[in-house]
């Protein structure tokens, strides 16, 4: 049953991927400016420019360029970067591990800490703690990443000297970026967990469980948690895209390599093949995240897979 559902969801990804590829391709070309300007040197003639435009196939119609590009994508050929002059696959392969590490840890951090905080605030239900919690949640969802990054650097690196200011050397260099990206997630997950647990506590079956004499702990972990996890999983799945997107500015501030840094650099130079590859990776991550979330939900809640199949 769950396999069939997964298969159906995978099939649905095909039209979605197609639309995304069109959007990614068009966005890049509709941006003003082009990569050739970044290749010209003092003294280049108009002919030099035309030659470069032709060399990279930028003189062909958009339609033809799109099909050449998508054809290459199917064969797994990302081509060569125009300005950065390296195979795009190499550039992505060099940067992806940094992004995955950072994103993965930030995801882990925001889900575990967020769920713990949400649970505490749902069961303790003290007005002061509750207000603190809500303040934290508001702060976490609104503070911009690059600003938080600078604050964390000032406090933990400059004043306390605990962590390096920037770079990617060792685990110490990961702490502040993970905190920066994870902070917003912690707040969000905490909020959703808290609401879901509070809602679940009001259900009739909880009263029944209490009446049966079960301990609060058993009720919370055995009965309430699975119930409350459903919306949390949804939020976490959607969060994957957000984390990768948020990493773009955070990587920049912390001087870390990664897809975000690569994307910013390539975008400034209009290095089309690199921008497209980075955007495609980010889009794929979001799609996969959503898919995993949906499948996990279906696995947890039979109603979902039955309704849809």
């Amino acid at each position: 049953m769950i396999l069939r559902y997964t298969f159906q969801r995978l099939l649905m990804l095909i039209p979605v991927s197609f639309s995304i590829s069109v959007v990614i391709f068009m966005i890049v070309y509709l941006l003003p400016g082009d990569p050739i300007d970044n290749l010209l040197r003092v003294g280049s003639s108009a002919e030099d420019r035309a030659e470069l435009v032709a060399r990279y196939g930028l003189d062909r119609s958009l339609f033809v360029q799109y099909f050449v590009w998508i054809g290459n994508m199917f064969r797994g050929e990302f081509g060569d970067a125009i300005v950065l002059r390296r195979p795009v696959a190499d550039l992505v392969a060099q940067n992806l591990p940094y992004s995955l590490t950072l994103g993965g840890l930030a995801f882990l951090f925001s889900s575990t800490v967020g769920m713990a905080l949400g649970t505490i605030s749902a069961i303790v239900r003290q007005p002061v703690l509750d207000r603190l919690m809500r303040g934290f949640i508001l702060l976490g969802s609104t503070v911009p990443g690059f600003w938080l990054a600078l604050l964390l650097i000032l406090f933990f690196s400059v004043n306390l000297g605990w962590f390096p200011v920037s770079g990617a050397g060792g685990w110490q260099a990961l702490v502040l970026p993970v905190l920066t990206i994870g902070f917003g997630g912690v707040a969000l997950v905490a909020r959703v967990t808290r609401v879901a647990l509070l809602d679940a506590q009001r259900e009739d079956f909880v009263t029944l469980l209490h009446a049966k004499g079960l301990s609060s702990g058993t009720i919370l972990f055995r009965h309430l948690m699975p119930h409350a996890l459903l919306p949390v999983v949804t939020i976490l799945a959607l969060r994957i895209g957000w984390i990768l997107g948020g990493a773009v500015t955070v990587e920049f501030v912390f001087g870390r390599p990664g897809l975000g840094s690569l994307l910013i650099r390539a975008l400034g130079q209009r290095d089309y093949p690199v921008v497209q590859a980075c955007l495609l990776m980010l889009a794929l991550a979001v799609m996969l995240g959503t898919l995993i979330g949906d499948v996990a939900q279906a696995a947890m809640d039979p109603r979902i897979r039955e309704k849809k199949s």
């Binding site: 941006l31 003003p32 400016g33 082009d34 300007d37 970044n38 290749l39 040197r41 003092v42 003294g43 280049s44 003639s45 108009a46 970067a81 300005v83 950065l84 002059r85 390296r86 550039l91 060099q94 940067n95 600078l150 650097i153 000032l154 690196s157 400059v158 000297g161 390096p164 200011v165 920037s166 770079g167 990617a168 920049f252 501030v253 912390f254 001087g255 870390r256 390599p257 840094s261 690569l262 910013i264 650099r265 400034g268 130079q269 209009r270």
Partner: protein
């Protein structure tokens, strides 16, 4: 049990302490540098084929010729050179006893192979005028020219003309400069992670530094680690906390903050470009030369240097940096602040002062567009320019674009005035920005003029010797100035900041940029 835990703890601490001691000893000879923002993102240490090279390149490779801050040329791998009077042949004598990092010899044959390797690359223009290279003997080469190239020494001193080992270059192909980079320079490439860091180790055999360094080799420092930090604030904090020892390319805005730090010292050297405001001569009212001249007299370069740049740098009076001989034009052509004369010129052109301080002609207000690119320094400068234009009754509206978009705007001929900058220490920049063959961009002034093009062609193609080239470019430069196509504003400095409790850096800096010759003289002070 308790005892054994304690012993373990003690032993552990001892090991950690020993480790720290060892690592601090190892660290002592290691200097960490952050690249300037403009040189980030190099993907290969390949002078022949790369489009973007950073400062570390200059430590891996030596050049035949070096250029000093006063733009004079100094011998390096070439000890002497001679040009025939017609400019059709150059003979270079090469330094004896030089070897590449792979122990192959540097000689006439290596130069011949190296020059040939530019064929078909985008850097080919550097050697385009060289028809063939003859090996006269092991240490003498002759370049037979297809046409005179009085700019040859400038090209040879460029970062793109570092000499790689022909053997390694042929063996590594596309990977040259990525997995390994082999030159004759004072440092060897140990590791290179694109976008993150480059580690260079001392070439112990190096004894052939140029006369621009006090130390001709080997280098004082064992290891140079170059880091890429895109965010300027982060780079500054790294310098403050000791994460890096040297920061290349400090933005002028940061100078005051840096100077307040006790352990940080700043060195300024002359810049290699200017900030200026091109005027679109095809967009009314700037099709009237009197309006252009008035605009150029409205900008008070001295007050901009003082107010925007805190007195650092110099005012620009014409299109070239002051150290170039072609910048030495007839003084009456230099562009100076004169608001009274600007007012007279606008009156003559029919633009009369209105009640609200904005000039009017035939019911039309003197309102213009002022474009700029999105960086803090540009935005501030543009706001001051806007205020100064208002003083002569010109109302300018600022629009900010990103650097790629703004070039499209120029090509669409959608602009009137713009604030921009260039970085290039050669007079052929005049051809780049004012040739009628490149209207829109780079010829943002949209200037097409028969006499201008004639002078340009003479300067670019008919100069046989360096002296002739200087005379021809000066004439062209003077003509450009007489047409009021732009307003020169500012000559920035190149700023380098370093941790003075850790290292000492030579000051004043020799060379046109802070590169190999200066790194050779960096020393640890601890």
């Amino acid at each position: 049990m308790r005892y054994s835990t304690k012993t373990q703890l003690l032993t552990g601490s001892a090991i950690v302490a020993a480790g720290l001691l060892l690592s601090s000893n190892a660290m002592a000879q290691d200097v960490t540098i952050a690249f300037s923002a403009s040189e980030l993102g190099a993907t290969a240490y390949n002078p022949v084929a790369a489009s973007n090279l950073n400062t570390a390149t200059s430590l891996i490779y030596d050049r035949l010729v070096e250029q000093d801050a006063d733009q004079s040329y100094h011998p390096h791998l070439a000890t002497a050179w001679e040009e025939t009077p017609d400019g059709m042949a150059w003979t270079f004598t090469l330094l004896d006893g030089v070897t590449f990092h792979d122990d192959t010899p540097f000689n006439a044959e290596a130069v011949q192979t190296w020059i040939a390797s530019y064929a078909g690359t985008e850097n080919e223009y550097l050697v385009e005028a060289i028809g063939s290279v003859d090996v006269i003997d092991d240490l003498t080469v002759r370049f037979n020219m297809d046409r005179p190239e009085p700019n040859l020494l400038y090209n040879l001193a460029s970062a793109f003309m570092g000499v790689p080992s022909p053997t390694a270059y042929a063996a590594l192909g596309e990977d040259f400069g990525v997995t390994a980079a082999v030159g004759t320079g004072p440092y060897e490439l140990q590791s290179f992670e694109i976008g993150l860091e480059t580690v260079l180790v001392r070439n112990e055999d190096y004894i052939w530094g140029s006369d621009l360094s006090e130390n001709t080799g080997p280098g004082h420092i064992e290891t140079f680690t170059f880091r890429e930090i895109p965010d300027q604030s982060t780079a500054f904090l790294e310098l403050r906390t000791g994460g890096i020892d040297l920061l290349l390319g400090v933005p002028t805005d940061f100078l005051q903050i840096l100077e307040a730090e006790a352990n940080i010292q700043v060195i300024q050297m002359p810049g290699t470009g200017i900030s200026y405001m091109p005027i679109n001569v095809t967009a009314p009212p700037f099709d009237d030369i009197r309006v252009r001249q008035a605009t150029s007299m409205a900008i008070d370069q001295d007050s901009i240097v003082a107010a925007v740049y805190g007195g650092v740098g110099a005012p620009a009076r014409n299109f070239l940096i002051s150290s170039l001989p072609e910048a030495d034009v007839n003084p009456s052509l230099n562009i100076m602040y004169d608001p009274a004369r600007a007012g007279e010129l606008l009156d003559e052109a029919g633009w009369m002062m209105g009640d609200d301080g904005v000039r009017v002609k035939d019911g039309e207000r003197l309102s213009v567009d002022l474009f700029t690119a999105n960086s803090t320094e540009f935005t501030r400068l543009t706001q001051v320019v806007q205020a100064q234009l208002a003083e002569i009754g010109m109302e300018a509206t600022i629009t900010v674009f990103d650097s790629s978009t703004i070039r499209d705007e120029y090509r669409r001929n959608a602009h009137q005035l713009a604030v921009r900058a260039y970085d290039w220490n050669n007079s052929d920049i005049l051809d780049w920005f004012f040739s009628g063959n490149r209207l829109g961009y780079p010829n943002v002034s949209m200037w097409e003029d028969a006499e201008g093009q004639r002078l340009n062609d003479v300067a670019m193609t008919e100069s046989a010797t360096a002296a002739e080239r200087i005379a021809n470019f000066t004439a062209y430069h003077e003509y450009v100035l007489s047409q009021h196509l732009f307003v020169p504003i500012y000559q920035p400095t190149q700023n380098i900041a370093f941790n003075s409790t850790r290292i000492s850096v030579p000051d004043p800096v020799r060379g046109s940029r802070f590169r190999q010759q200066s790194f050779m003289d960096i020393q640890i002070v601890e």
